[in-house]
Structures are given as structure tokens and as C-alpha cells.
């Protein structure tokens, strides 16, 4: 043998999964949702994807250059942010707004906090919340799936303002108005299950999140089914599927403790139902996740598990 021996602290073997592979796994899990989005919204979806990716990747690259650090594009987290951002924007959003959203997502949502792993808030949702506040009209203009792109209202808005329910099958398939990647609950469910079963994300948050929404949504519905939507409608409509499987599971911005992850899911679920039923906005998934992101440090702090052999 030539050269010097390598010294390092144990373990001297490592699991296969690294950050890049995790992110790749998320991207793969998103494929069904993206395919559905492109199928329904045609080139709008592609433009949106390209603009968001351009925004997030350029922000990530610039931040590395400004901070004189090696490029972190390779870890693919900025790509995940870009794709997820595109999926939560209205299909007809102008490309420049999508690009701006991408820049804000990674620039403001992630890099000013120090980059990967250090941000408090979900970057894609920071981007979206910013766009929502900056261009509320653009962000609440929806088109129906299909080539004509006629303006429609989202199922949740129909429910909230007109008390009109959308057939569940349409929600499942995704033939409704809404964000580019959120409409097809089925495609997202497939991707989400893949994500969880392959171990890229933890199952506790989606489970508790969706469960809470279903349970809480069922209570008013049980009393006034004419006025309130069914729990199934709650689960399938809006961004809940996308949010629960892909955004509430962002490891960086969610608790690391098991108890904490249940708390996160339950808290987010409560917020969604409250905002949907009584808030000014028809949808609350984004806000619910951002608000729970904000309390994640507190959750983590107060749910440190008792070590093995500690008093129980």
C-alpha cells in the first residue's frame, strides 16, 4: 500500500442515502403530479416550471458566489424548491412573476438564513406567500384545465363564496381550477406514498395533518352538511395533498422529534380547517405550514425525547 493511512472517526461505512439522493427522491415522487399538471395546463405548466427553476437556481448560484462558497446546486435542494414553487402557482402566472418568486424563495427564504438546512420557513412557500402578497390578483386568477384556459374559480372558492361543491371524482383526477401541480389529488397521493414508503420523508406529518383535517372537517359537516364541505372534499380540494405530502414534510422546516412531528401535523391541520371555514381566504394550506414552521423551534425545544433508560 502506498501513501498515508486515512484517519477518521467511526463509523467507517455509510448508508447509501445522501442529501442529493433524498432530493432526487423528492423530485421523482413529484413526477406524477407534474405530469398531471402538464397534462391539464399544457405549456403554461412548462413555462412556470422553467421560470421557477431559473429563479431558484440562479438565486442559489448567486448566493454561493457572493459568499465565496462552492456551488451547492448539486445537492438539488434548490431544484426541489423550484419545482414545488411552480406547482403551487396559478398556471397563468406571468413568467417574470414566477421567476421573482423563485428568487425570493431561495434568496429570502433560504440563503439569507445561511443556506441548506438552516432556514426556518419553507422556501417555496415563502416565495409563494410573497407572490400572494405582492400580486394578489395574479395569484387568485385561475383557469380551467384544458387547452382553452377559460377563467374559473377554484373548488374551494366555489365552496366558500357560493357554497357549491365540486364532484369528488373531478377533485381526485384534477379536472378543476387551481395551482399548476395541486389539482390532481390522485397523482399527488401516488407520489406521496412513494416518497414516504421509500423513506425520503416521514409519514407522521402527512398522517397527522390529513387526519386532523378530516376529523375537524367532519364535525361541522356532520351538523350542517348543506353549509359545510365534507371531510373528503377537504382532503381532496386545494393544496392539501401537495402540502401534506411534500411541503409539510420538508425536513428542514419541520420538527425533528417524533412527538413534534405529530404536533406539527395536528397544528397545521387545525389551522387549515379554521382558515378554510372561517378565514377570509378560501385556502389555508400555505399559511398553516408557514405558521407551523414559525413554531417549529419551540416545538423541537419542548419535545426532546427522554433518553433510553430515562424516567418515563
Amino acid at each position: 500500500m502506498e501513501g498515508r493511512l486515512v484517519v477518521a472517526v467511526s463509523p467507517h461505512i455509510r448508508a447509501e442515502m445522501d442529501t442529493r439522493k433524498v432530493m432526487m427522491g423528492v423530485l421523482i415522487s413529484l413526477v406524477p403530479g407534474i405530469v398531471a399538471g402538464v397534462w391539464f395546463f399544457r405549456w403554461h405548466a412548462l413555462v412556470l416550471l422553467a421560470s421557477c427553476l431559473a429563479g431558484t437556481l440562479s438565486a442559489e448560484a448567486s448566493a454561493c458566489i457572493l459568499r465565496k462558497k462552492p456551488s451547492t446546486l448539486g445537492d438539488l435542494s434548490a431544484a426541489v424548491t423550484g419545482v414545488l414553487l411552480a406547482m403551487v402557482l396559478p398556471p397563468t402566472l406571468p413568467f417574470w412573476a414566477a421567476f421573482l418568486g423563485g428568487v425570493v424563495a431561495v434568496g429570502v427564504g433560504k440563503q439569507v438564513f445561511g443556506g441548506l438546512g438552516q432556514n426556518i420557513f419553507n422556501p417555496a412557500l415563502v416565495g409563494r406567500a410573497f407572490l400572494m402578497a405582492a400580486f394578489p390578483v395574479l395569484m387568485t386568477t385561475w383557469v380551467a384545465p384544458g387547452p382553452e384556459a377559460v377563467t374559473v374559480a377554484t373548488p374551494l372558492a366555489l365552496m366558500k363564496f357560493d357554497h357549491k361543491a365540486t364532484p369528488l371524482l373531478d377533485l381526485l383526477v384534477g379536472k378543476v381550477g387551481g395551482c399548476m401541480g395541486e389539482t390532481s389529488a390522485l397523482a399527488l397521493l401516488i407520489g406521496g406514498l412513494f416518497l414516504v414508503l421509500k423513506g425520503y420523508a416521514d409519514w407522521r406529518i402527512p398522517l397527522s395533518y390529513l387526519g386532523t383535517v378530516a376529523v375537524l372537517g367532519a364535525i361541522p359537516w356532520a351538523f350542517r352538511p348543506d353549509l359545510y364541505p365534507s371531510p373528503m372534499f377537504h382532503l381532496l380540494a386545494g393544496g392539501l395533498m401537495l402540502g401534506a405530502w411534500f411541503m409539510a414534510t420538508d425536513p428542514v422546516t419541520t420538527p425533528v422529534t417524533k412527538v413534534g412531528r405529530y404536533m406539527f401535523g395536528i397544528g397545521a391541520g387545525v389551522l387549515v380547517v379554521v382558515i378554510r371555514l372561517w378565514g377570509g381566504l378560501p385556502e389555508g394550506v400555505m399559511y398553516s405550514i408557514l405558521l407551523m414552521n414559525a413554531v417549529t423551534p419551540l416545538i423541537d425545544r419542548y419535545t426532546v425525547p427522554v433518553p433510553f433508560g430515562g424516567k418515563r
Partner: protein
Amino acid sequence: MSVSARMMLVLTVVGVFSGLSLVYMDKYAEPYIALHKKEAVREAIDKVLPGVDKVEEVHRDETVIYRALDSSGKLLGYAFLAEGPGYQGKIQLMVGVAPDLRRLTGMEVLESVETPGLGAKITESSFEEQFRGLEAVPAVGYVKAGRKPAPNEITAITGATISSASVVRIVNEGLNEVRRVVRAGPPDCETEATIKWKGGKK
């Protein structure tokens, strides 16, 4: 002199001086402020009831109604302030209604804190104009953009349905109150003040 005594003395003296100077300042400013207030009301009435020359303030219970008369003394209509919650916060309106109380003559948003660029569009004339000549029976209503409004309906602002609906609701509530007051009897007897338009319509 003990510290306690000095504390009391200094603070009291400062307080007295403060009170003194503010009384004078208030004396100076008060008339102007009152004037601006009236001016604001006047201008608003002017907008919602074009051609007004003289206004009588009618008080009943808590409600204030402005009776607007033209230069010949003919009743042009009533104007009233109405307020209620919007999307972000309070919205205050001045509404003008024809003497028969069935048709609006105009609406002006005096105060609102709706989202700029969205709910704040209720203050734009394109929105306010919709109320001019609007049928008010049985009540004012709204439709979403893209649909055809009935004669008693306005078109809501896209992306600000809540604000639009709030305005409509506030108008209706105010209108009902005015109807109650006007129908309750000849209001003239309770006239408390009359605002005379100095130079007529500007």
C-alpha cells in the same frame, strides 16, 4: 429641598406648562380642524348628491342623516354615513339616496384599510360609479366579474369579493336605517343644524 418634594414640584410644573401650552394650541387649531371635518363631509355629500346647495343635518337616536336641498330648496335626496367591517378593517362610506329611498345617487368611500391594489379598489371611481343610479330595492346586490348584473346589482372587484360584498352590506344596512328614520315621521322637526353651502357647488 427633599428629593420627593422636588420630584413633585418639577413634574407638576412641567405638567402645568404642558397643559397651558396645549390649551392655547388647541384654541388655535380647533376651528381649523372643525372646518376640515365639515369640509370633508361636505365634499363627500357633494360627490354622492351632485347639485346640492344646502344640507340639513337630521339627528334621530344615534343616527345622523343629511337632507340635501338644491338651490331652490327642493329635496335632492338624503346622504348618510355608514360603516362596517371590510376584509382588513373598518370601511366608512358616504351614501346618497334619492328622496324616494329606492335609488342610490352615489357612494363614496371615506375610510378603508383594504389591501392596496385589491380591496382598495373600492375607493376607485370605477367601483364607486357603479352605485350612481343603482336600484336599491329590494336591496343592493353584487355579482362576480364576468356575469351580468341586474339593475340593483354591482359587479364585484375581481380578487376582492369580500371587500365588495362588505360595501354592499354596509350600504344596505345604512339604507335600512335611513328608511326607518325617514319613515318614522317628518324628520324636519328634529333638524339640528344646517350646513349652508357657501358658494354653492364648487
